[in-house]
Symmetry: C2
Subunit: 404 residues, 2 copies
Amino acid sequence: MYSFLSHIVCPKCSATYDASTPQGLCRCGAPLLAAYDLDALRAALPGPGAFAGRSPSLWRYHELLPVRAEQSEVSLGETMTPLLPLRRLGEAMGLPGLLMKDEGLLPTGSFKARGAAVGVARAKELGIRELAMPTNGNAGSAWSAYAARAGLAMHIVLPESAPALPRNECLMTGADLCLVQGLISDAGRIVGKAVQERGWFDASTLKEPYRIEGKKTMGLEIFEALGWRAPDVILYPTGGGVGLIGIFKALRELQELGWMPEKAPRFVSVQAAGCAPIVKAYEERREESSFWPDSETVAFGINVPKALGDFLVLRALYETDGCAVAIDDESILREQALVGKLEGTYICPEGAATLAAARRLRKEGWIAPDETVVAINTGSGVKYPEAVRLEPRALLRKDQAIPA
Amino acid sequence: MYSFLSHIVCPKCSATYDASTPQGLCRCGAPLLAAYDLDALRAALPGPGAFAGRSPSLWRYHELLPVRAEQSEVSLGETMTPLLPLRRLGEAMGLPGLLMKDEGLLPTGSFKARGAAVGVARAKELGIRELAMPTNGNAGSAWSAYAARAGLAMHIVLPESAPALPRNECLMTGADLCLVQGLISDAGRIVGKAVQERGWFDASTLKEPYRIEGKKTMGLEIFEALGWRAPDVILYPTGGGVGLIGIFKALRELQELGWMPEKAPRFVSVQAAGCAPIVKAYEERREESSFWPDSETVAFGINVPKALGDFLVLRALYETDGCAVAIDDESILREQALVGKLEGTYICPEGAATLAAARRLRKEGWIAPDETVVAINTGSGVKYPEAVRLEPRALLRKDQAIPA
C-alpha cells in the first residue's frame, strides 16, 4: 500500500469522517486530522530504516502521507532540508549541540512548500479543481506554485500591506490574485464568502486536514537525520502553529509504531513580543489562546493573533514539558544578522526568533549546555528586504580604493 | 583517496602548475583548469554507480573535486537540484521531452552556490584567509555566504546600480561590502588593486581554477539523473560561461573514465539580445568573442560583455555541434511568466531565456520533437522583483467580493 491513511478525526470532539471525500472543519469547529492504520503499516514495513534508500524528498515517507498513489504526487523538487550544525553561534551561546533545520531551501523558499505539496496533491486526488485562500505571504507563494504545477486554479486574497516579494511569487506562478485594503482577517472573510458561493475549496490554514500532513515531514526528516532519536529540544516559530502540530504528530505516530523511544523532545513555541497569544496562554496554563489585539512584528509569518490550532500547540507544549517564549523585534534582527555573519545563513526573522529563544533559554538554564537543540528556520531571509538594517561600508567613485 | 586532483593546467598554452599552492591566471593570461588522475580514479572506483548510495549533495562526487579531505568541506546544505519534467510547457512548444534543471533550490537561490562551496572550501584548505571579488549580484551572495560559513573574510565590490536583493544577501552574511559608482569592470579594477596591495585572494570569475569544479557538479548531476547518459541538447544561459565550461568538463572527464558514451549532447549557449558577444563570435565562427559595448538586459546574470573563458565556451559549442542563440528581453519575460503559470516554477530571466531558446530552436527544426532537452534555470526568480510586469486583478475594499 502506498498510503496507510484510514480516516479523518477531530482532535477536540473525536468525531470521525470519511477520508475519501473532501473535508473541511469538524462540525464542532475544530481542525481535523488525518489518521493512519498504524498496525497495518507496522506489519508492512520492517522499520523506519526502510525509508533510507529512497529518493531524498518528502515523498519518501509516503506510507505516512495521505496521497493514495505515486502518480498523484505533485513535485517541484521538494528536497530534504539540511540539519545544519551551527558551531560558532552555538558556542557563542553555550550550546555546542545547536542545530538548525533550514527550510529556506524548499521550493518558494519556505517550509510552506511542504503543506502545499501534500495539500495540493491530495486535493487534486480528491477531484478538487479550484482552491482559494487568504494569506499574508509565504503560504500563498507555495500554494500558488504547487497549484500551478498540478494544473489547479488558485484564488488568493492578500492584504495590500503584505510584503511585495510573496505577492510577486503568486503573480508569477499564475494565481488569481486580489489585494484587500485590510488585514488577513478581512481577506479570510472575502475568501470564505467566495468559497460558499462558487464551490471553490477553502485551503486556509487548518481548514482542511492535509496541509498538516505535509508539515509533518519536517519532523520525520529531523528524526531520521538523528537516527530515529529525538533531540532534547525543538524550537518552532509559532504563527498558525501547523509545523509544530505536524512535528508533534509525526513523533506520536512514530512512537505508536514503536519506531522512536517514548521520551519526547521538549517543544518550545517561539513568538514575537508584538504577537504572543500562545505565550500568554501558556503562562496562564490555559488550553486555548485569546485574540491578540493590534499585533505587530517584523516577522510577518508569525503575526497570527489567534490560531485555529492553538489548543493543539498548547497541548504539545504541556505534554512534552515544553514552554513558550516571546522575543522582541530588536533581538530577532540582532540574532538574524549574527547567524548570517557567523554561519553564512541568511535566515528569516521567524527563524532568527528561535535562535534568540535558544540563547535566552540557555542563559536561564532551561536548556542545559550538553543538550541537542533543533531550531527551525522556516524560510529564506531574502524575502524580507524590509527587515534589512545593515548598510554597505562605503560608496566609492571609480577612482577610489577600498578604505582600510 | 578522497580527491584525485593531480595538477593545474592551462587550456590555452598547456602550461602546468602545482595544485598544492594557490593559483590565479596562467602566465599567458588564460584561466586555469584543475586536472585529475583519471587512471588512478578508474582503478579505484568500479564505475559511476559508486556515487549512487551517497548523501544527496554535490560532495558525493568528491573524487572528481579538488578538495583533499572530507573535513575541509564547507556546507550550507547544497542539495542535488531536481531535473523537472516540464510537460505542459514542453507540449506547448512541441518538445515533450523538455527537462529543467532547477538551480534555484541551492543555498542563496542560485547555481553560484556550487562554485562558491567548492571554491571557498579549496581556498581555505590552501590556507587562504581573505577573499575579494567584484560582482553584479548572485556570485557575491553565494561567496559571501560560503566564506562566512568557512570563517573566511570576504571583500565585495558591487556596482551601485546592481539589484538590491543580492546586496542584502552580502550584507546579511557578513561581507565587507563597498558600492561603486560605475560598472562591474570598475569594481573589478578596484578589487584588482586591493588584491595586489593587501594580499587578499582574487576570487573573480575564472581567476582561480576551483569555482569551475563546483559548477562541474551541475553536469555530473544531470548525467547521473539520466542514468549516465547525455541528453540530446543542453541549453545554458551564458554570461561568464563557467557553468557551460564546467558541464562540458564533467562530460569529457566521464568519457575519459569510460563512464559515459562518446556521443556528446549539443551545447547551446543562450544570451540576451542586448549582450550577445558569444552569439556574434559563434556566427562568425571565431575562437574568441569581442567586447559588447553598452550591454543591457533584464537578465543581469548574463550581462557580461566579454568573458575571460569565451574561448572555452566557443570550443564546447564547436566540438558538440552546438549553437548560440540570442533572446530579446520581451521574449525572456514572456517565457518566464508562461513557465510560472503552466509549471509553477518562478525562475530567473536567465533561465527563461533558455526555454525561449528551446522554443525557437524547435520551431526552426534545430531540435527534433523527440529529443531530450535540458534547460538550465540558474536561479530563483524571486530575486528579480524589478522584472515583474504582472499586476493583481483587483484591489478590494473590505466589504467587496472577488470579481467574477
